[in-house]
Structure formats: structure tokens, C-alpha cells
């Protein structure tokens, strides 16, 4: 199953974030996930103050990890990440781009006049 998982981490100096990221990815791989890609979406002010692990954060680094994993591993991944103090908010989401796109025909015009009067037989 294809997932991607976005997480925000506390802003820290470069080697520390690198070590923390390495830890999380190793945890992923321990649970049988195959990591495809890791992206850094930058360090930004969070859109709202988030409190996690008895601390409040207003700035964070955003990371996006693509991986393949069995669906049963998701729970254990989330549990492991919620315990990590560096990670502010872990999220695992099904990979949206691998889902099929159904053709949408648009808004079908419904003939409303037929619905105006009920077609039940009246005595």
C-alpha cells in the first residue's frame, strides 16, 4: 500500500534534525516499510500554535516521506512516532496520487418540472 507520511519536527540545528530524521526512517524500515523518497518542505512558522509533549511550538520543519508499507504496520508506526519528542505531529496518509481518478461528468441537469407535482395516483 502506498502511503505518505508528513511530519513536523522541532526546529533544531542541522545535525540534530538529521539524526532525528534518521531515527524515524530507521523505525519505518524496521516495520517493513520501503522508503521511496524524503522531501523537506522547509522550516516555517506553524499555522497555529501546537502543543505536544508538554511544550508549545510555533515554528517547525516539515518533512514528507513516501513509502510502501503493509497496512498493518501503520498503527505501530503511529504509536512509535507519537512517543518521539522531536516529532510534533506525525501523519500517515494514503498516497493520493496513486488512487484512481474517476471521470466526473459534471453537474447533471435534473429535470425539476417532473419533480414539482407528485405522480402518485389520486382518487
Amino acid at each position: 500500500m502506498f502511503f505518505f507520511f508528513s511530519l513536523k519536527m522541532k526546529t533544531k540545528k542541522q545535525p540534530e534534525t538529521a539524526a532525528a530524521l534518521k531515527r524515524t526512517i530507521e523505525a519505518l524500515m524496521d516495520r517493513g516499510a520501503i522508503v521511496r523518497n524524503l522531501e523537506n518542505l522547509g522550516d516555517r512558522t506553524l499555522p497555529y500554535k501546537i502543543s505536544a509533549h508538554s511544550q508549545q511550538h510555533s515554528r517547525g520543519g516539515y518533512f514528507l516521506v513516501d513509502f510502501y508499507a503493509p497496512a498493518t504496520a501503520v498503527e505501530s508506526i503511529m504509536e512509535h512516532l507519537s512517543r518521539d519528542t522531536d516529532v510534533i505531529r506525525p501523519n500517515v496518509v494514503k498516497h493520493p496520487l496513486t488512487q484512481e481518478v474517476k471521470e466526473c461528468e459534471g453537474i447533471v441537469p435534473v429535470p425539476l418540472e417532473e419533480k414539482l407535482y407528485s405522480t402518485k395516483k389520486r382518487k
Binding site: F4, S6, K8, N37, E39, N40, L41, G42, L46, P47, Y48, I50, G60, Y62, L64, I88, R89, N91, V93, P96, L97, Q99, V101, K102, C104, E105, G106, I107, P109
Partner: protein, 115 residues
């Protein structure tokens, strides 16, 4: 449009703005003919396109616009609402206001603000 929206999902934030802005400029505003709108345009809504999603929320309160304002069909409205809620909970998009960087967007929804 489809290709643009799909690719945007995985680019870094700074690159996003160029692509999706171009995408939305293609559509032409004006007539209230509801059929052409939306469904064919936004083929797929991935999780983290803040620019696209911010166009469907109010800049003052951050509420998601209803179907009568966006003019989207059933399926797409649901998809966009779900994507907005997901982005808000994941901490990618603000909830009670619209990110000030996106205030100067091309208008997609049918809403008129009081001056």
C-alpha cells in the same frame, strides 16, 4: 489541468505557487454557467496543495465555502472539503484565517465581499 494538479502534490512549497496559479488562470471566470465549472478542471486533489485549497475558504473567517458559492459538483466539493480538513489537521493550512501569502489569488468562487 490534470497534470498540473497531480504534479503539484510533490513539489516543494515555493515551486507550487507558480504551477497552480497558472492552472487556475486558465479557467475563465464570469458566467454563472455551472456545467463547465470544476469537475473537469480539478482532476485530483492531493493532500498538500495549499494554494488550491485556500481559494475555497474565506479570508476573514477561514470557513469553507458551500456548494452554492464554489459551484462544484457533489463529488469534487466533498473531495475538496476533505482535503481542506486534512490539511488543517495536519498543520499545513491555517484554520481560522487564510494564509496571507495567498490573499492575492485569482478568484474562483462566486463571492462578493463588502468593500
Amino acid at each position: 489541468m490534470a497534470a498540473l494538479v497531480a504534479v503539484c502534490g510533490h513539489l516543494g512549497r515555493k515551486k507550487l505557487t507558480h504551477f497552480v496559479k497558472a492552472a487556475v488562470f486558465l479557467t475563465d471566470p464570469g458566467t454563472h454557467a455551472v456545467l463547465w465549472r470544476s469537475c473537469s478542471q480539478y482532476k485530483q486533489v492531493a493532500g498538500n496543495e495549499d494554494l488550491l485549497l485556500s481559494q475555497f475558504i474565506s479570508p476573514f473567517t477561514g470557513c469553507i465555502y458551500g456548494r452554492h458559492i464554489t459551484g462544484l459538483c457533489g463529488k469534487k466539493q466533498k473531495e475538496i472539503t476533505k482535503a481542506i480538513k486534512r490539511a488543517q489537521i495536519m498543520g499545513l493550512m491555517p484554520v481560522t484565517y487564510k494564509d496571507p501569502a495567498y490573499l492575492k489569488d485569482p478568484k474562483v468562487c462566486d463571492i462578493k465581499y463588502r468593500e
